[in-house]
Symmetry: C2
Subunit: 525 residues, 2 copies
């Protein structure tokens, strides 16, 4: 059977252990106990030489699209029925599979989440799910898959868009993205600030015009048939006279491609068209941009865009712009004017998030409703930073007088902030670090999560892409510029409220193994 | 519209410029000229501190599955019809779209390829496609997407399987893989040598049983309801008595998880069952493996497997095994015996190919049939290593007397090897390097490509996964062990035949810009 078969992306798009656990819960009759899970990530992506100072949340709508269509089909159930254990007996009982077929309806889950496009930080629950234990467990894998990847790419794209200083950025990444994940990658990139994509299907789905130029092969084809680069350019311009972007580096950028493009553009202008741009895909892009700008200007074609591509990412773009500024200073040119012509075609390094191709998002059980109250769940880890924050939580973003976000404060659901003038808030993973915050420093307090689905219904209206992009832009404006720095950013504060910190410490005392044992397990014998 | 909509993975799963170029070809009436394209990669994946010495080819069958279903639908065509240029006129003409709807049938392409599972090297054409120019162009993006990613992952998985010295490896990577690309990633991993996967849908599609244990949340759930780790283990064992793998690091691996697992396993044995394994997901995995092995043996449970997981990759596994050997020597234990119990659960770092999340595969026009012969096409690049090898080619693998592969030799299609006793073969990208090969050194000559599709039909029988895995194993046996070294491998030779080299040099002389110009473009003013 093909792995592109729709059944591989429906209910069965999950890890096997979700179903073995679900059966254990079912057979012990706790499958419908109300459970509470949080999705959060632990670290900003670290790209080797540089690390992000913020993330952009994305993937929520895609996850819900999965959720809506993920009811197990009869075919899924009969496949599960066919699975055998080592003893040749069915792994899944008929009664469990009957329950699954009848009761596996993810609309039963109560889901709260931070909207897409928002700037988010480690440890903060981005999505919280409560509902029947088995169902809330089963969604773990697809939730992580959809949210981790799109958030990873929205984050990378946001850095790239920042590095591009607002110039247009187009996603060209399909060819090296990870299979059909390319579509989710493009969506993440668009949420993160990229303007357009070459991916036709996804552009269509998101109601954006797809963009593109032509490949070297167009020029090669005409040349192999005895023609020239100029013939190829003319052929292209004839068909797309008002949308003509010419790739000028097939033979020689400055000696051949640029003069040929100028000739074609001048012809187009004479015929009343407006030439659109050139693209350069190799060589020293900073040097070539300035040279092309000068030649185009000399030819009266100052309106023509210069599309740059070839293994671009945020640092490469930053270097190109810095070098253009330096060159322009040397030659007494207006760097802003040169830069205003640039468009960046970004591919592989964005859609694969080169340097760090995964976000370490996790989905953790934090409580179970038992004996008429929520019982907090805690995973005691050998690694102290991995101990999760227990209980049912909500997160507030506090803004200072400059309207800059100052801290994301994770609290217990029923907690009231600033019961006193001063509040002691705590580091999310290191219990030894705390800080005092004064009510008068705080201009605004904003709840980050909103209810998406409750009582069987999605009550949230998923915004259009453009709205999501505006959300991201607003959040970036409210972020201290140090936090946005591409390399070695200022660390944004995420803190635990007094009550949440106390709950965590109480639970830790109850369960924590003595330090000596930990040392042994960690190999410090 | 949802990006999970099937239309995003059909004909429109491609870059926009494929269609603008196709229209240019159509309007100039060269859309059905026979063209020849090669798919190859330029470099082995480089993971930062280490680089692969070989790749494992994968993704071909998936690409064909795409090809089979990728005829443009009426809906696709009417979408393309709706696209407007800057002048508000339709971008695509009705006549082009009519042609596309009627003639876009990818079975017209003649396709040769190297079978999946084969060890492959840079510059060698892995897939060669000839057929109508516009159609052969349009398939570029999906071809690159499907082949680049699966080959990347098959390569990473092969390294991981080698590092694991043949012990079982299970793919756990879904949750951090790139969206629906997870399915292709799992297929690539299985081709590369991984034994099983936790991905249910893809396991089903590939006719393999899905595998998994349970999560920490199972233990947490029982504890939150007032139970213990032991209760959770017993609950799991009761439902899966013959398939029971227990995750022992939720509280404390050696003080709690291991003794509880031993208790449950002893109960299982008393009831006539065979306990399957423990899993350790944190801490010093080498130290913990040895300790668990000793305790399990002491308890008469030497048959129990030890599943290790937590950010594993080839280097981490190699380190764990080296450390186990060292510890065993110190304690006079049989390291082979300990290692034989191990199973590796590998996730994120395999399915995202951490360190290098993309393969730099490209698809290049190498010739067009014009004036009754094949005219070679060449892209002259500013970067000499990027100059492609022209013409219609075939590749032979030469084996030495030890049955080891000694060189992959790229030749012209009609070329005869060893017309003399000695043959001068050339470096694939550096014209200054050549070597003499003597016919008597060569024991066997093997053609690597085979015809997959011709004259409208797929004539190749795509092998089952198991056969593909055997192909990989055979090729690895025929590879010098130096080439398989995980770090700093010996460089396998890929060479150009005398005739291909001569053709390339002749074409270069015809088109190459003078060195001076190149220098200027590269910024060496």
């Amino acid at each position: 059977m093909s792995i592109l078969n729709p059944s591989t992306s429906g209910f069965l798009f999950t890890d096997f252990y979700q179903l073995t656990m679900a059966q254990v819960y079912f057979e012990h009759n706790i499958q419908e106990k109300r459970a509470h899970f949080d999705y959060f990530f632990r670290h900003y992506p670290h790209y080797g030489s540089h690390q992000a100072g913020y993330c952009v949340f994305a993937g929520l709508k895609t996850f819900f699209e999965w959720l809506n269509k993920a009811k197990p089909t009869r075919e899924d159930i009969s496949y599960l029925k066919s699975l055998r254990g080592r003893n040749k007996q069915p792994l899944f009982s008929s009664s469990f599979l009957n329950w699954l077929e009848k009761e596996c309806d993810f609309s039963k889950l109560h889901i709260e989440a931070i909207p897409e496009g928002r700037v988010v930080h480690p440890q903060v629950p981005l999505v919280s799910i409560s509902g029947p234990l088995a169902l809330a467990q089963i969604v773990e894998t697809p939730l992580l898959n959809h949210l981790n990847y799109q958030t990873l790419i929205a984050t990378k794209a946001s850095r790239i868009k920042e590095a591009a200083r607002g110039q247009m950025v187009i996603d060209f990444g399909m060819r090296r993205a990870h299979g059909l994940g390319a579509n989710a990658g493009t969506r993440g990139a668009l949420i993160g600030g990229v303007d357009f994509s070459s991916n036709i299907g996804t552009s269509r789905a998101l109601n954006l015009p797809p963009k593109g130029t032509h490949a070297h092969s167009l020029v090669q084809a005409f040349m192999a048939m005895g023609g020239s680069e100029l013939d190829a350019f003319q052929a292209f311009a004839e068909i797309f006279p008002d949308d003509c972007v010419l790739l000028i580096d097939t033979i020689n950028t400055l000696e051949s491609g640029l003069p040929n493009a100028i000739k074609v553009f001048q012809d187009l202008k004479q015929k009343g068209h407006t030439p659109l741009g050139i693209r350069i895909d190799s060589g020293d892009l900073a040097y070539l941009s300035v040279q092309c700008y000068l030649e185009l200007k000399k030819a009266g074609l100052q309106e023509v865009s210069i599309v740059l591509s070839n293994q671009l990412d945020e640092l490469v773009i930053q270097q190109i712009l810095n070098q253009i500024e330096q060159k322009c200073k040397e030659h007494r040119l207006d760097a802003e004017e040169v830069i205003s012509k640039l468009v960046f075609g970004v591919g592989t390094r964005m859609l694969t998030s080169e340097g760090q191709p995964s976000l370490d998002g996790v989905y953790k059980l934090t409580g179970i409703y038992h004996q008429e109250k929520w019982q907090p769940a805690l995973k005691i880890s050998n690694s102290p930073a991995k101990i999760i924050n227990p209980g049912h939580k909500k997160t507030f973003r506090l803004y200072d007088k400059r309207d800059k976000a100052m801290v994301d404060l994770i609290c217990l659901k029923e907690e009231e902030l600033f019961s006193q003038e001063d509040m002691q808030i705590h580091h999310p993973t290191d219990p030894n670090i705390s800080r005092i915050i004064h009510q008068k420093e705080v201009k605004k307090i904003e709840a980050l999560q909103t209810t998406i689905q409750t009582q069987g219904k999605v009550i949230y209206e998923f915004p259009e892409l453009n709205t999501i992009k505006q959300v991201r832009q607003q959040d970036l404006q409210n972020l201290d510029s140090g936090v946005k720095r591409l390399i070695n950013p200022h660390i944004y504060h995420v803190s635990l409220s007094p009550k949440l910190f106390k709950l965590k410490m109480d639970l830790l005392k109850k369960y924590q193994p003595p330090r000596q044992t930990l040392d042994r397990e960690l190999g410090f014998e």
